[in-house]
């Protein structure tokens, strides 16, 4: 196997870390020195080689550790994975999409043999080998969505389309930025977005929903979203707020560079063929301020973005309490020089 997987944790002793290669390929979300919500949607996959935009489902050095973390979260709280009965077909669609994509994009890690509906799946990093019958749930240990998302980085929402809206009728959500599947399940696009400030009034959600309803088979899209997390924790759920909320108070000017993480979500949209449902994978990337600032363009820009951000967004994203310490720390990397357009590091 070509890829090395980190031995690391996302809770307790938090041994999560990024290699120089992971830092280089980090999906830095800001293409300019300021930020406001917008319908920032582009085609997927596609992008420079060795970036997380290149493949349908990015697999990186955190894969094995992330899957272990998901297992722990699910064992404590099975409701993080839910699928209403009419969504099983969408689960099969998702399983097919992921298995076919991963076997094609990472042939030394994943293999899929198909003979009609007799499928044989090999996942080398996780040591899984499974023969099963496609579209027959009795041949898998759990439902198809759960089966494949226990083997794929990122959260997954499956949306059912009806009445010109999208409904969150299934999902595997263990690495979310403070929202709950158990609360949102069965809600529509406007209902689950209700807590977001400003965006509805700006017309962002009306436009975004119209766009999503028109996403067709074979046309895939992505957008980046971001927030700030103290410690490299995947499970920042409302259910476990008592575990991670208080950690925000541990930030000091001395430790902020190491303990404060920029949390980036690479969100993608896929129309699923058999169910006509929409798959919405939300892949989370974490990097602390110190590692971000090792790239001069990113250090300068992050300083400017977080310094000037709308207070309602800082509040909603939950970092207002530490904003001053963060901005003070980042100011040392900002010499006032202009930054180049786009998200990628300067060569």
């Amino acid at each position: 196997m070509t890829m090395q997987f980190n031995d690391e944790t996302f809770r307790g002793d938090y041994t999560y870390h990024n290699s120089p290669e992971a830092i280089r390929r980090f999906p830095f979300p800001f293409d300019q020195d300021s930020y406001m919500y917008s319908v920032n949607i582009e085609q997927h996959p596609g992008g420079p080689k060795d970036t997380p935009f290149e493949k349908m489902f990015d697999v990186d050095e955190h894969y094995v550790a992330e899957m272990k973390d998901r297992e722990i979260t699910l064992a404590e709280d099975p409701l993080r994975c839910q699928s209403l009965p009419h969504m099983e077909l969408a689960g099969w669609d998702l399983l097919e999409l992921i298995m076919v994509s991963k076997a094609r994009d990472y042939p030394d890690l994943f293999t899929l043999h198909r003979d009609g509906n007799d499928w044989h799946w090999i996942n080398k990093p996780l040591g899984i080998e499974k023969k099963f019958t496609f579209l027959d749930a009795t041949t898998l240990p759990c439902g198809p969505m759960e089966y494949i998302t226990r083997q794929t980085q990122g959260d997954f929402a499956l949306l059912h389309e009806r009445d010109n809206n999208l409904w969150m009728d299934a999902g595997m959500i263990t690495s979310q930025a403070d929202w709950s599947l158990d609360f949102d399940v069965g809600m529509n696009f406007f209902e689950w977005h209700a807590p977001v400030p400003k965006a509805r009034k700006m017309g962002v959600f009306d436009k975004a929903l119209k766009f999503l309803l028109a996403v067709g088979q074979g046309q895939h899209y992505r957008r980046l979203n971001w927030t700030m997390t103290v410690n490299p924790r995947l499970d920042t759920s409302p259910e476990n707020y008592h575990k991670w909320g208080p950690e925000k108070r541990t930030i000091t000017p001395e430790n902020v560079g190491q303990k404060q993480f920029l949390r980036v979500e690479l969100q993608t949209f896929f129309r699923l063929p058999r169910s006509n449902a929409l798959a919405f994978p939300i892949r989370c990337y974490l990097m602390n301020l110190e590692d971000i600032a090792s790239n001069p363009k990113w250090g300068r820009r992050l300083h400017r973005v977080l310094r000037d951000i709308d207070p309602a967004l800082a509040e909603y994203k939950g970092f207002a309490v530490n904003q001053k310490i963060i901005v003070d720390y980042l100011s040392q990397f900002d010499d006032g020089a202009p930054t180049s357009p786009g998200i990628f590091p300067d060569a």
């Binding site: 009419h86 009806r162 067709g216 088979q217 046309q219 006509n276």
Partner: protein
């Protein structure tokens, strides 16, 4: 927009007015599977313009070996169906879109009642295969004027839950009898003439069905109309729309960059802002709200037309 270049491998006359077409990949590759009720957009090159019409898929959604559609000849339409009937034959190349679905089954339903009138039977042909595969209870009602016109009969399986109503033979479809007494949680789907869709809506309203359980196929072919001119704001260019052309087709022919998907007024992709309007927009889409229509600041170029002196689009 992703496209598929396929071969026409079969053309069959199903009835005096309806032909069935079968498309396969020239290399024998498997085509993407789809969901019941999905349609394809077929490209028809004519001179230097390309006409595109959408047709429901009638083949097995999970069978990637071919796509099939059925086309009724409309002698008074804009020519798309005439093109299919007169210019397309076995062995021809044909370019189509990937399948897309604006008329999907609501899989939450306890039972599905499918009602097709005339050529409106087509989306149900793929849906009933999906329902068979999912082992969901359903019944299908197919209404046609005469047996000769009922092209769908050849494509329907014979089964107790498939009902054919031929009005000429005195077996008119009785919507009251069909819809009354259906179990709670039944969904009904209608495709066919406007009158049929309205009749089902009225009947279900009378019986107190929830609106969300009543579905109808929204997209139709763009209607021909009188020619008119539009101005493209960014370039100041005037584009002429011919009587048998849609506004979208005219803009495409003039190389104006514009997005689309269904080309039938149902998906929202071609939604365009109007920057000046001196006259009346003839809205033929199913996308804009009544308020938006009245305001005359939005138009769906795939379906809608204009009557007046000046229409300027934000393109």
């Amino acid at each position: 927009m992703k496209k598929l270049c396929l071969k026409v491998t079969a053309v069959e006359q199903l009835s005096p007015l309806v032909k069935r077409f079968r498309f396969e990949d020239p290399t024998g590759a498997t085509l993407p599977v789809f969901s019941g009720g999905a349609h394809l957009t077929v490209e028809m090159p004519e001179g230097d313009t390309i006409r595109r019409n959408s047709y429901s898929l009638i083949s097995d959604p999970y069978d990637g070996s071919a796509y099939e559609i059925a086309v009724r000849r409309e002698d008074r339409g804009r020519g798309g169906s005439l093109y299919m009937h007169t210019k397309v034959s076995e062995g021809d190349d044909i370019t189509v879109s990937l399948p897309s679905n604006l008329f999907q089954l609501d899989l939450r339903a306890r039972k599905h009642v499918l009602i097709g009138g005339g050529i409106g039977i087509t989306p149900f042909l793929s849906q009933l295969r999906q329902l068979d595969m999912e082992q969901k209870p359903y019944e299908l009602h197919y209404a046609a004027r005469s047996r000769e016109e009922a092209a769908g009969i050849k494509l329907l399986p014979q089964a107790a839950h498939i009902h054919v109503h031929i009005s000429e033979e005195g077996s008119r479809m009785d919507l009251g009898a069909i819809l009354d007494g259906q179990p709670l949680g039944t969904h009904v789907y209608t495709c066919g003439p406007d009158g049929l869709i309205t009749a089902v809506a009225d009947q279900t309203a009378r019986l107190g069905w929830p609106k969300a359980a009543v579905h109808s196929e929204a997209f139709t072919a763009p209607p021909p109309g009188e020619p008119f001119d539009v101005v493209v704001k960014s370039s100041g260019k005037t584009v002429h729309v011919k009587a048998d052309q849609s506004l979208l087709e005219a803009l495409e022919a003039a190389k104006v960059d514009i997005d689309y998907s269904c080309r039938g007024g149902a998906c929202g992709r071609c939604h365009t802002k109007v920057t000046a309007c001196d006259g009346r927009i003839l809205h033929n889409d199913h996308w804009l709200s009544d308020d938006e229509r009245a305001a005359q600041q939005d138009i769906m170029p795939c379906m809608s037309r204009f009557k007046g002196t000046r229409l300027e689009l934000d393109l």
